[in-house]
């Protein structure tokens, strides 16, 4: 295939419209060093990645973020990625091996020393275990706090909703009041109008009588 044909294929590649064989051929062509196709590809890909911005935007579901945050915290705790994470105690793996030939050592002064070292090591190990437990407890607390935060945010939202409702009621009452006043005024005006009309009719009659006379 000629470079021209490949160049045509780049636009289709960018929106993933090529058949698998054509795609592979184009990749080989670019890998072989066609700078023109490489440069075109970068721009076409940039344009394709902007396509979703032409869609009418939709908000992600309200509860997705809190759900993901909880999963993230759990994932983090499991993979030991947290900043206060527990690190395996140095030498933990060597510890039993050092003390394997213990039989030969019984009765020797070195054994007493070894026993002390063993006790110390066990002590350190126990401490480490405790700190691990503490870390896990801390992580649990963090998660609980995150959940409490969610709860608090919900309460704030509820408060806001109540407040909105109250304001709405106020506006409605106000409106009803005003409407009532307006109606009263209207009735009064209508009465006045009726009186005026009556008077006008009387005057017209009188005028008609006078004309006849």
């Amino acid at each position: 295939m000629s470079h021209e044909q490949f160049e045509d294929a780049v636009a289709l590649y960018a929106v993933d419209a090529l058949e698998p064989a054509e795609r592979e051929a184009l990749e080989v062509h670019i890998r072989d060093g066609c700078e023109e196709c490489r440069a075109a590809m970068k721009e076409y890909r940039a344009a394709a990645n902007l396509l979703p911005y032409a869609l009418p935007p939709e908000a992600a579901p309200f509860d997705l973020q809190s759900h993901l945050m909880r999963t993230f915290e759990l994932d983090r705790a499991q993979s030991g990625k947290s900043g206060v994470g527990w690190t395996s105690p140095a030498g933990q793996g060597d510890f039993p091996r050092t003390f394997l030939p213990w039989r030969r050592l019984i009765g020797q002064p070195v054994f007493a020393l070894a026993s002390i070292v063993l006790l110390l090591a066990v002590g350190i190990y126990a401490l480490t275990l405790r700190s691990q437990l503490q870390t896990e407890a801390a992580q649990r607390r963090q998660i609980e706090m995150a959940m409490q935060d969610e709860g608090r945010r919900l309460t704030v939202l509820q408060l806001q909703a109540t407040e909105q409702e109250r304001k709405l009621n106020e506006i409605r009452n106000d409106f009803v009041d005003k409407l009532g006043t307006t109606r009263d005024t209207l009735v009064a005006r209508e009465a006045e109008l009726a009186q005026l009309r009556d008077r006008l009719a009387q005057q017209e009659q009188q005028a008609a009588c006078r004309r006849r006379l």
Binding site: V15, A17, L51, P52, Y53, A60, T71, R76
Partner: protein, 210 residues
């Protein structure tokens, strides 16, 4: 393949119009996500969730499925965040590519095109090539970007819009689009080519210095 990845240099976007009020989804932020920084993840989510959900919904046309998909995408993203290579493109482009390919996977069933998009899209040389992008998401405010892209897309003739949408959101190849529309393959190829070419020029200000 690795040599190819390394040889794809990245167009450096001009960071001239960085909007000060919009914290952007930087490679640094993504690196913090990779280290388990929950706050960084929350920020990353706020920056990207609307666009990614819109994209997933457009492809899957089902609210619950799009929501479920987005959940999987974010989990995959934070697990892979640590190995994200900023030389390969912008984090936002990476997330868009990931969301699109997972959604198309789901839409078509992963083996339907004789390849597994899960493996092929962003992990092979093609993926790296796809991600070697300038970062318009970093230099433009979201509203501005939407306006630019909407205008550019609206300016395309309807048949070109249709062909591009069937490929990008429908996951169809040119031959499949031709069959669906009952048009010659050459016509479909030309429509995509012309449309994408126009978009490329119209959107150039997004990644070029003003």
């Amino acid at each position: 393949m690795t040599a190819f990845i390394d040889s794809v240099e990245v167009l450096n976007p001009a960071r001239m119009r960085l909007s000060p009020n919009q914290p952007s989804l930087t490679p640094e932020l993504l690196a913090r996500v990779g280290k388990g920084d929950a706050q960084a993840f929350a920020q990353c989510y706020e920056q990207s969730s609307s666009v990614l959900f819109t994209l997933a919904l457009r492809i899957l046309n089902n609210h619950d499925e799009a929501s479920e998909l987005l959940q999987d995408v974010y989990i995959e993203a934070w697990r892979k965040a640590g190995s994200f290579d900023p030389k390969r493109g912008s984090p936002m482009a990476w997330l868009i590519t990931l969301t699109r390919s997972r959604a198309i996977d789901r839409l078509r069933g992963s083996a339907s095109r004789g390849r597994n998009l899960t493996d092929s899209i962003e992990e092979t040389s093609a993926g790296d090539l796809r991600s070697a992008l300038p970062d318009p998401f970093d230099t433009h405010a979201l509203g501005e970007l939407r306006m630019l892209v909407m205008e550019a897309f609206k300016d395309l003739p309807a048949p070109q819009q249709e062909a591009i949408e069937l490929a990008f959101y429908g996951g169809l190849t040119h031959a499949e689009i031709a069959a669906k529309l009952d048009k010659p393959i050459g016509t479909v190829k030309t429509r995509i080519k012309l449309g994408m070419n126009k978009l490329r020029y119209a959107l150039r200000p997004c990644w070029e210095a003003k």
